[in-house]
Symmetry: C2
Subunit: 415 residues, 2 copies
C-alpha cells in the first residue's frame, strides 16, 4: 500500500494547469495571472499635486525666506485646477494657481503649498483674487509627485504567476486591463454513490443515511477556490452510474464518494475502467481514508480529468479531500505543487497509536501561547462528523505502535 507521501507524489505527477482563459477583471480575484502585463500609461501621467493647495514658484518666496520682506507673501491667483482638468495658463512670477489633490502642476510652478498654510483667498476688484501665505519655507519640488515615478509606459507591472488579490485588481484597472488572462478555477464535479443515501431534506428510512458527503465535498471544493458541480446521488446500478460518471469526466476533477471499498456493490472502479479511466493507485496507508482511489482519464498527459474515489465515511472523505484533493486543486489553479503544510505542536495528552497506517486525528490547535499546543478530541471514528466540526487541525501520527507522552512534538495540519 502506498504511503501518504508516495500517493501525493503520484498525484503531483499527473497534475498540470488547464489552458489559460481570458476573463473580466472582476472574475479574476484569487486566480493566478497567466500573462505578463505591461502598462499603457505613465503613472502619474503628469507631474501632479499630492495635496490641496496652491502651485507656486519657489523663487517668489526667496526674499521672504531671507528675511528681506516684512509682510507675508501674497500672490495673485491665476486659475483653479481640479483633478480631471488641465492647467490653461503657465505660472508666471507673482502668481499662484489653486490646485486640488491629483491635479496636474502648471508649467512654471515648482512647488505646492498646502491650503492649510494660506489665508482664505480674497477677491480684489472684479477678477483679481489674492492669496496670503503663512509660510516662506518653500522647497522646490515640495508636494509634487513627478510623472512616471510609480510606473513607466511599457513597464511590466505584473508577471505571469502572480496571485490576483484586491491590490492586483486595482493595478490591472489602472494600467488599462478590464480583462485579463488567468489560469481558470478548476471545475470539480461531485458524485455521491450508494443505495443507502437519501437527500438531506428526507427522513432516512431504516438502513438509509442522508447524503452528507455530497454537500460537504461541494463546499470543500468551493473553499479551495474551485467551481463545484453537483452530480447528485448515483445508485448502485451500472448504467445509471456510467451516465453520471461520463458527465463527471467532462470536468477537470471528478470526486466520487463511496463505492470504492471491497463491498459487493462497489461498482465504481469497474465503471471507471470501462470509461477509459486508468487507475493510478487504490488504497493509501492512512487512517482514516484507506480505500482512496485515484485515476486519470484521457489518452494524453496531462490527463483530461483527475478522478478521486473518496471513501463513503464522511470523515474519511473529508480527510482524503484535505490531504490529496486540496493540493491537486491548488496545482490545477496554477500554484506550485505543495503537499499539505504542517506545523509542529506540543501534544496536550498522552496517546498510543496502533496499526501500520499514518493516523490523522481530529484535534484543536492552540497558537495563543509561546509554543503551539494540540489537544486530541474525543473522536468516535470515521462516521463521526460532529467531532470534526470542533477540530481546527488534524494531528499526525506515524505508522506503528508508539506511545506518545504528553508534551511530545508532533506535526499537525490545519483544516
Amino acid at each position: 500500500m502506498l504511503t501518504v507521501d508516495e500517493a501525493l507524489h503520484r498525484i503531483a505527477s499527473h497534475v498540470r494547469s488547464p489552458a489559460a482563459v481570458r476573463v473580466p477583471l472582476a472574475d479574476a480575484l484569487g486566480c493566478r495571472l497567466a500573462e505578463d502585463v505591461a502598462s499603457d500609461i505613465d503613472s502619474p501621467s503628469h507631474d501632479k499635486s499630492v495635496v490641496d493647495g496652491y502651485a507656486v514658484r519657489s523663487v517668489d518666496f526667496a526674499r521672504a525666506a531671507r528675511g528681506e520682506a516684512a509682510e507675508p507673501v501674497e500672490l495673485a491667483v491665476l486659475e483653479e485646477i481640479t483633478a480631471g482638468q488641465m492647467p490653461r495658463q503657465p505660472l508666471t512670477s507673482g502668481h499662484a494657481t489653486r490646485i486640488m489633490t491629483g491635479a496636474p502642476i502648471p508649467d512654471g510652478a515648482d512647488a505646492v503649498v498646502m491650503v492649510e498654510q494660506t489665508s482664505h483667498a480674497e477677491e480684489i476688484g472684479a477678477s483679481m483674487v489674492v492669496v496670503t501665505f503663512h509660510t516662506d519655507q518653500i522647497t522646490p519640488g515640495q508636494n509634487i509627485k513627478r510623472r512616471a515615478t510609480s510606473i513607466r509606459t511599457g513597464q511590466v507591472v505584473l508577471r505571469a504567476g502572480a496571485t490576483i488579490r484586491a491590490a492586483e485588481i486595482g493595478l490591472l484597472a489602472e494600467v488599462g486591463r478590464p480583462g485579463v488572462s488567468i489560469v481558470p478555477r478548476p471545475r470539480v464535479a461531485v458524485l455521491s454513490t450508494g443505495n443507502e443515501l437519501v437527500a438531506p431534506e428526507l427522513l432516512p428510512a431504516a438502513g438509509q443515511i442522508r447524503n452528507s458527503n455530497g454537500p460537504m465535498l461541494l463546499a470543500a471544493a468551493r473553499s479551495a477556490g474551485a467551481t463545484p458541480i453537483d452530480l447528485g446521488i448515483g445508485r448502485d446500478e451500472v448504467d445509471a452510474l456510467r451516465r453520471l460518471i461520463e458527465q463527471g469526466l467532462e470536468h477537470d476533477v471528478l470526486l466520487l464518494s463511496g463505492g470504492v471499498s471491497a463491498g459487493k456493490l462497489d461498482l465504481v472502479p469497474g465503471v471507471l475502467q470501462e470509461l477509459g479511466v486508468r487507475e493510478v493507485f487504490h488504497k493509501v496507508s492512512v487512517k482514516p481514508g484507506k480505500p482512496l482511489w485515484f485515476g486519470v482519464s484521457g489518452a494524453s498527459d496531462p490527463p483530461d480529468c483527475l478522478v478521486f474515489g473518496l471513501p463513503g465515511n464522511p470523515v474519511s472523505s473529508l480527510v482524503g479531500f484535505e490531504l490529496f484533493v486540496r493540493p491537486a486543486l491548488a496545482a490545477l489553479a496554477g500554484h506550485a505543487w505543495q503537499p499539505p503544510p504542517t506545523i509542529t505542536a506540543e501534544l496536550g495528552q498522552a496517546f498510543v497509536t496502533h496499526g501500520n497506517r499514518s493516523t490523522y486525528y481530529p484535534a484543536r490547535l492552540d497558537e495563543s501561547g509561546e509554543r503551539p499546543t494540540v489537544e486530541l478530541l474525543a473522536w468516535q471514528g470515521s462516521g463521526d462528523l460532529r467531532t470534526i466540526t470542533e477540530a481546527n487541525c488534524l494531528a499526525i501520527f506515524a505508522p506503528g505502535e508508539t506511545e506518545y507522552a504528553a508534551g511530545a512534538s508532533i506535526p499537525v495540519m490545519r483544516i
Copy 2:
C-alpha cells in the same frame, strides 16, 4: 485627530450584525450559524458494520479459540445485507450474514469479521453457501459501530455562532438541515467619485486617471466574504452624487473613494449630511490614509448603513480598507470584533520615521526562518499601487521621529 485605535473603537461601537436569514445549505459556506441545531436522528441509526465482511456470533468461535477444534470455523451464509438494506433474518448459531460497510448488524450477531480474513464463500448444493474463517480471535463488538454513538436524536450538534466550513455543511446535511439560519454576508456598495476618473477600458485623456479604486474595493469586499455592489463612478456634481449615495445607503456598508479631503470639489461630506448620515469622525492619524471619513445612517442604533469615505489615492484607500473596513465587515458577519491582527517581525533594514502619524509601510514578511523578518519595499507613496502588489504585509511604525535600527522588532499586519 483620532489615533488608529480610537478610530477602530468608534467603528466597533456602531457595528451590529444584521438580522439572521434562512438560506439553502450550499449558500451558507463561510457564514456564521445563527441558530442552535439539534439532530433529528441517531447517528449511526443502527448498530452497523464498519467493514465489509461477515456478521457472526462470537460464541461460534469459542471452541476454535480454545484450541478444541482442529478445523477452521465454517458457517452457513444466511443472507447478504448491503448498505441501504435491513437484515431480514436474525442470526442463529452456525450461521453468518454477509454484510457491507455501513449496513445494519442483524439481531443475534455481536461481531463482524473482515472479508479479508475469510475464504471466498462456496456454494454447497442449491441454496447453501458456506464461508470459511481464517481467524478464531473474535472479540464481541469488533467492527461494530453502536447506534447513536456519534449523535443522539435531539442532541444539539452545532451552536449559534459556529463558522460554517465544509465539515459543518456535511453535519448539517446529516442531521436533516437542507436550509439553515445564518448571519448574512454584509452587502457592500462601492462608489468612486471624481471628475478625473475614467473606466479601466478607456485611455485617460490629459488630466484623467483610470478608476482603479472601484474594482479594487469591490474585490477587497469580496475577499472579506461580503457581497459587493458596484455603483460605478460618481461625478463631482451634487444631484448625481446624491442619487448614487442614496442607492448606496440601502446596503449594509457604503464605501466611497475620493471626495473626502479638503478640495473645493469634495462634495461628498455635504451630500452625506443632507441625506441624514451622521459623521462619527473625519481624519485619522495614519499614513497613508489620513482623510478617512466614517459615519452612520438611520435614526436607530445599530445604524442602517456604515459609511466609509476612503481617500482617493489607491494605496491610502486599500490601507484604509484593511485597517478599518475589513474588521467592520467581519463583525457585521457575526464574528466577535477584532482589530487587525499583527505579528512581531525583525526589521531587515534601518528606517527613520517622520511626522506625527502612525505609518503603515508596504513590506514583505518572511516566515520561513526561525524568526519572522520584514523587508520594507521601495514604495513611491500613496499613488503607487505597483509596489503594494509586491507586498504581503504592512510594517507598522509609531508616530514621531524615530530611528529604527536593522533588527528592531516591529509589528506587521498581513495583507
